[in-house]
Each structure stands twice: as C-alpha cells, then as structure tokens.
C-alpha cells in the first residue's frame, strides 16, 4: 500500500441531522420565515386572512339564520346568510316545477344514476363493460320514461316542469354522453387522409370552437324550430341538448385528437401489419389507448360542460342557477338584504362541490395513468 492509499476500517453509522429537520418550528422557519421578505409576506398573508375569514365565517355560520329560522330573523340588521330561505325553497332548487307528490320519480333516477355511475369511476371494480353499457344505453331510457311518464300508469310530466339541479344534471350527463361518440368521429375525421371528410370535420370543429356557447344556444333556441319541417315543434330541453351536444363535441374532438397524436406510429403500423382494416384498427388498437390517455381531458370537458349548463336559461330552461335566480327575484315572502346572496352562495357551493370533486378525480386518473405508463 502506498502513501496515497486509504482504507476506511470502520463504517460511519448514520446519525441524526445536527439541526432538527422536522417539527413545527423547523417547518415554520422553512415555509414561513426563510428570508426577511418571506416573513413580510407571511405577515401580509395573515393580516389578509384576519381581514377576510372572520366576516366570511360570521356571514356563513356565525350570524347566519339556520334552516329552521324565520324571515323576520333574516331581516334583522345583524343577520348573516338566510339558510332558512334555501331550506324552504330546496325542492324548487332541485326539481323545478316537478309535481311534489311525484318527486319519488326523479329521486329514483338520481339513485339509479349514482349506483351506475360511481362504480364506473373506480378503476378497481370489475364488469366495466356491462356497467358502461347499462349506464349509456339502458339507464337513459329508464330515466326518461320515469321522469316524463305517460306510460305504465305514470302521470305525464312535460319537460317544462323539469328544473333545478335535475335539469343541470340531465343536460350535462346527456350532453357529454351524446357528444362523446360525435367527438370521436370528428377527431378521426380530422385525422383522415380524405380531403372532403377532413375539410368538413375541421370546418365544423373550428367554427364551433370560435364562437361563444351563448350564440349556439341562441341558434338552437331560435333557428332550430325554423330548420325543422313545418308544424314540427322542438321541445325546449331538446333544443338545449342539441346546442350543448354540438358545442361539447367540438371540444371533445380536440381532446381525442390529442390522444390519437400521442399514440406512437408503431402502433398504427403494427395494427396494419396484422391485416386489420381501418375500423378494426381504430376500434381494437388505437382508440382504447388514445381514450385512456385522455380521460383527464374528458373529465375536464365534462367540468366545463357542467358549468356551462348554467347558460341554458337562454332557451328557457330553469337549471339550478336559473331556479335560484328566479326565486331570488320573485320570492317576496323571503325578501331580505341577504336573500339573494345566500341563494347564489348555495348554488355556488353545489356547483363547486361537483366541479371540485371531478377535478380531483381527473388529477387522480392523471397520476394513475402516468405511473402506469412508466412501468
């Protein structure tokens, strides 16, 4: 051994870090007071919270009038949110003008929907295919006849009477379900080598994406009846659905196109070399991979659609937001300084709860897909 050599005779055992690396103080030092600037920002943030949180808390809970309260309490100068108003109008907010003795019908529809939809979202559960087929094809028929009635001795319930959260959910779920196949066809058409088909698809997609939904709903509301043969009337709900579906399909087409482009060329070539025809290639090889890739994008489109259903007031439907607005403006017996604010707050909470949970779900799927990809 020369003089440069060195051999460690005894290994150094791990020892704890000199300064504690966890604990509240260390955490605060690192995340709140790392630099003087940080400390200043922290102080600023805390002051802001002190300014905003207590009044908000007092309005929503502290000074609020509970569900069992009276309008007199709501009219008190110090009163906060008037939850009694929301509680008393809840049926209208959820079902619109639906006949009250018949509310069990939408309730069954809600329950069935949840029963079929929730398992679809959980990747681990089996029978996805049957579940999806039931949800996409059987459930809508059952739901429609349950809600509309006119068969099996159920009293007839015209769509004008439907409203509130019921309509919001119907339009968003039916809209996305119908827009989905249309979006796939448009995306495939856009990728097509046939110029006529490609042009048609590109024109449709870009035209729809460049105008606001509100103008498409105007069109559905005013022009759709003109387009139909004379004497044929188009149900308001149907008008809303047509507008929303066309609009969403253009956006979904772009989402799906992203997925198609992410599939490596080798997959197309391998499928072709097996002798599969165009539709077989798409159905067995390309689309299953592409759609799996874009599940987060599809969920995001659904969130956007869910929020956009608030615009169907244009065609005269009373969705959740429009139902709340109607009562805010017309429920004179509940008039107070905070009635409208409470109503909007309620609608906001409902919309938020739906959208937020969906966006978390989309993030969850994204993480799942990413890790699945690396393996």
């Amino acid at each position: 051994m020369t003089d440069t050599g060195y051999v460690r005779s005894e290994l150094v055992a791990a020892k704890p870090a000199p300064n504690p690396t966890s604990g509240a103080v260390v955490w605060a030092k690192k995340n709140l007071f790392a630099t003087p600037m940080d400390a200043l920002l922290t102080a600023f943030g805390v002051l802001f919270l002190l300014w905003v949180v207590p009044p908000f808390f007092n309005f929503v809970l502290g000074h609020a009038v509970g569900p069992m309260g009276t309008v007199e309490e709501c009219r008190a100068i110090t009163a906060g949110a008037c939850w009694a108003y929301v509680y008393n109008e809840m049926e209208f907010f959820i079902y619109g003008f639906y006949d009250i003795p018949q509310l069990w019908r939408p309730n069954i529809v809600f329950a069935l929907g949840a029963l079929l939809f929730v398992p679809l979202l959980i990747p681990k559960l089996p029978f996805k295919r049957i579940n999806a087929l039931l949800f996409l094809f059987v459930y809508p028929v059952v739901a429609y006849f349950l809600l509309a009635g006119g068969v099996f001795g159920l009293s007839e319930m015209p769509t004008e009477k439907w409203g509130g959260l019921l309509v919001t959910l119907i339009i968003s779920v039916v809209g996305i379900t119908l827009a989905f196949p249309l979006g796939i066809v448009l995306a495939l058409g856009r990728q097509s080598t046939l110029p006529v088909i490609k042009t048609i698809c590109v024109t449709f997609i870009e035209l729809i994406r460049s105008v606001p939904l509100i103008t498409i709903l105007f069109m559905a509301s005013i022009m759709l009846p003109l387009f139909m043969p004379q004497g044929m009337t188009v149900d308001k709900l149907l008008r809303a659905l047509v507008g929303v579906t066309l609009f969403t399909s253009a956006y979904l087409a772009e989402v799906v196109r992203g997925g198609l482009q992410a599939i490596p060329r080798g997959q197309y070539e391998a499928a072709a070399s097996l002798g599969l025809g165009y539709w077989q290639r798409m159905y067995f090889i390309i689309l299953p991979q592409a759609l799996k890739h874009v599940i987060p994008g599809i969920v995001n489109s659904f969130i956007a659609l869910f929020k956009d259903t608030s615009l169907v007031y244009i065609v005269g439907m009373k969705d959740l937001l429009e139902a709340v607005k109607t009562k805010n403006d017309s429920a004179l017996e509940w008039q107070s300084a905070n009635t409208a604010t409470t109503g909007y707050l309620f609608a906001a909470i409902v919309f938020w709860a739906f959208c937020f949970s969906m966006s978390r779900y989309s993030m969850f799927m994204e993480r799942r897909l990413n890790t699945g990809h690396k393996r």
């Binding site: 709140l32 046939l194 608030s310």
Partner: protein, 396 residues
C-alpha cells in the same frame, strides 16, 4: 400461391371497390351527398317556415333606424341610429370590456400563478384556494353575484358611498372625476413619448456597451427614473394644468364626471377574476415545465438569480405559456357574451338580443354575431401560428 405454381398467371384482378383510392372517393362522395342534401333540407324547411310566417330575409334592415336605447356606448348613439351602428356599438363594447378584462386578468393571473409556486406556505395556500374556488364555479353565477348581490345592493344615489378622490359608488355604478387637461398638457404627452423612445434607445445602448466593453449599466432603475422625471419636468416647466370635472349630485343622479355602470363593472370583475384563475394555472405550468437542470446549469455557470430568470428561465417558460394564454384571452372575449345576462350592451345583447327581437331577422343577426367572433379567433390563431413558428425549439 407459391413460386412452384409455374405457368402463366393472370394479372390479379381487383374488385373496383377494393382499390383504396376508389374507395376513398366513393366514401367522400357519399358523405358529401348526405351533407349537401341535409343542408338543402334545412334550407327548404327554413324557407317554407319563413314564408308561412310572412318574413323576408336579407341585410337591408341594417340601414333602418333602430329606435332603441343603449345604456352604455363609446360611439355616438341615439334612437335615430341604424342597426348597423348598433352592431358597431356592440362590437366596441365587447372589445372594450375584453381589452380591460385581459389586462386585469393577466396581471392578476401572473401574480397568483407565481404565488402558487412560492415557498411561503401562506402565500401559496392563498393562491391555491383562489384558483380552486374560482375556476370551479360557473362564470354566469359569479356575474350574478357581482351584479345582483354586490353592485345592485349598493345604496341609492342619495346615499352613495363616498370614495377617495371625489368618487362615489352607488346602485348606478361608480362615478369619478373626469380629468380635463388643458392645451399645454400636450407637451407632457410629448415628454412621455420622448421618455419612452429614450428608454428604448438606452436599452439598446446598454446592451451594445455590455457586448463591447463588458460593463453593466443599471438599465431598469435608469429607465424608471427617465419615465417619471422627464414628463414631470415638462409638466412643471410648461405649466400645464389639469382641471377635474367631479361628479356632483344633481336632482336625480350625479352630473358630470365619468360613470361606469354596474353592468360593465360586474362583467369586468367576473371576467377578470374568473379568467385569472385559468391564467394562473397556465403560468404555473409553464414555469414548472422548465427543467430544473436548466436552473442548475445556469447556477453552476455563476449567473446571478436575476440574470438566471431573465436569460434562461423566462424565455423558455414563455414558449410554454403564450399559446394557452392566448386561448384564455380568446375565452375571455367569448365569455364577455355572458354580459347579455346582466344587461351589459355587448354584441350578443345588442344584436342577437334587442335587434333580433325587433327585426325578426334571426338568421342574419345570429350569423353576423358569430362572424365577428369567428374573425376574432381566426386573427388570433393567425398571430399564434406566426409566434409559434418563430419560437419553436429547433430539434433534430
């Protein structure tokens, strides 16, 4: 068939439909025919429906007197104006709220996007709460909130809240003094223009000097000083005066000053706050998309933090941020059509609403309205394509 099967083989005959070219042409003809006949059917129905309702078509109505009021307009407007002028008023009102909204949403969105990446727990949490709350609530609901729950519950004109600088807020919006600069004030504008040109020249010179001699020049501070001092000096020397026309409570309303109606304010607040939450996410994603190795490489070369951001990180982040940012701008412009729901006289409200109802020319009005949005988005995507072609990273 194998090579052993000697003997004359017939030229393979293809059934004509198995030729991919012919098949493609057939498909296209079929789809084309279906589409054309569908459109023809719609046109036929529409014509029959219109005839049955005794309605005429055409754009001649554009030159007729509109005869309705528009509450807020940058262009001169009276009841005697034509529908064409109403169309233009609608467009300018849309562009006005979209432009201001874009400026506000950009500032707010960048601030919040950067705040979300802050190492300070409180700041990043506040930004997260903002984004997750705002983007999960429909814009229309937010507009209703601002309009009906906030601005419309302001006190009546008589009991207006007084704001600083002779401004007032009440049910009818915000009133503030209108600055009335005198003729001398033109010199201040000239001074400002000279200062801006000076700053541009200074930046070029500083860059040249750095490249020539290696000496840094404090460009930012100097520019700031030039921009502030020069116009101020001109103001003092020229003796320019700015008079203010404050709003004064008259018999029924404030007189004088500038009024921003609650419809405009609610739409502006709603659009800016809503779009900012999306811009914040775009900005965060763009900054995070720059590989951490870039920061490390810049650090190991000895670049200081400011230079690191300016020369290495921001140019790369902007490539990622700009395309989705433009589509957010476009979304904001399209979303400004929701102003129709709270009575702001933008394009959809004025033209697809009032004008359509008065004239009954549904197809014409809706088509013209859509055309405006179509042109706006075609323009934007043309600019975007040009930008993308310019900044795309060159790869093998």
């Amino acid at each position: 068939m194998t090579a052993l099967d000697a003997g004359p083989t017939e030229a393979p005959r293809t059934f004509f439909f198995n030729d991919p070219v012919i098949r493609g042409i057939v498909y296209q003809i079929v789809v084309g025919l279906i589409l054309v006949s569908f459109i023809a059917w719609i046109i036929g129905n529409t014509a029959a429906n219109l005839a049955a309702q005794n309605k005429t078509t055409g754009f001649d109505f554009l030159w007729k007197t509109a005869g309705f009021d528009i509450s807020f307009s940058l262009l001169p407007w009276s009841r005697a104006s034509t529908y064409w002028q109403a169309f233009l008023v609608g467009i300018t009102n849309t562009l006005l709220v979209a432009f201001i909204g874009i400026v506000v949403a950009t500032i707010l969105g960048f601030t919040i996007g950067i705040a979300r990446l802050s190492s300070n727990f409180i700041i990043s949490s506040l930004a997260t709460v903002y984004v997750e709350t705002i983007r999960n609530i429909p814009l229309l609901l937010q507009l209703f909130f601002w309009y009906f729950a906030v601005l419309k519950t302001m006190p009546a004109v008589r009991d207006s809240y007084e704001l600083p600088l002779d401004s007032f807020i009440n049910q009818r919006g915000i009133f503030f003094p209108q600055p009335l600069p005198d003729a001398q004030f033109g010199f201040v504008w000239i001074g400002l223009a000279v200062a801006i040109v000076g700053v541009l020249v200074l930046r070029r010179w500083a860059r040249k000097r750095l490249e020539a001699t290696g000496q840094r020049f404090p460009v930012f501070l100097t520019s700031l000083a030039v921009l502030l001092v020069l116009p101020a000096l001109v103001w003092l020397i020229s003796g320019a005066q700015v008079a203010f026309d404050p709003p004064v409570l008259g018999r029924f309303n404030f007189e004088g000053g500038v009024q921003l109606p609650p419809e405009f304010l609610a739409l502006l607040f709603g659009l800016s706050i809503y779009t900012a939450s999306f811009i914040a996410e775009t900005v965060r994603g763009g900054i995070q998309a720059v590989n951490h190795g870039q920061t490390e490489a810049a650090q190991s070369l000895g670049l200081k933090e400011g230079d690191r951001l300016r020369l290495v990180i921001v140019p790369q982040a902007m490539r990622v941020i700009v395309p989705p940012l433009t589509s957010q701008y476009l979304n904001l412009t399209k979303n400004s059509s929701l102003g129709a729901a709270i009575g702001y006289p933008e394009l959809v409200n004025v033209f697809s609403g009032t004008a359509l109802n008065q004239t009954g020319r549904a197809i014409e009005c809706i088509a013209l309205t859509m055309l405006v949005y179509l042109i706006l988005s075609l323009l934007t995507s043309a600019i975007m394509n040009w930008y993308n072609a310019r900044v795309t990273l060159v790869e093998r």
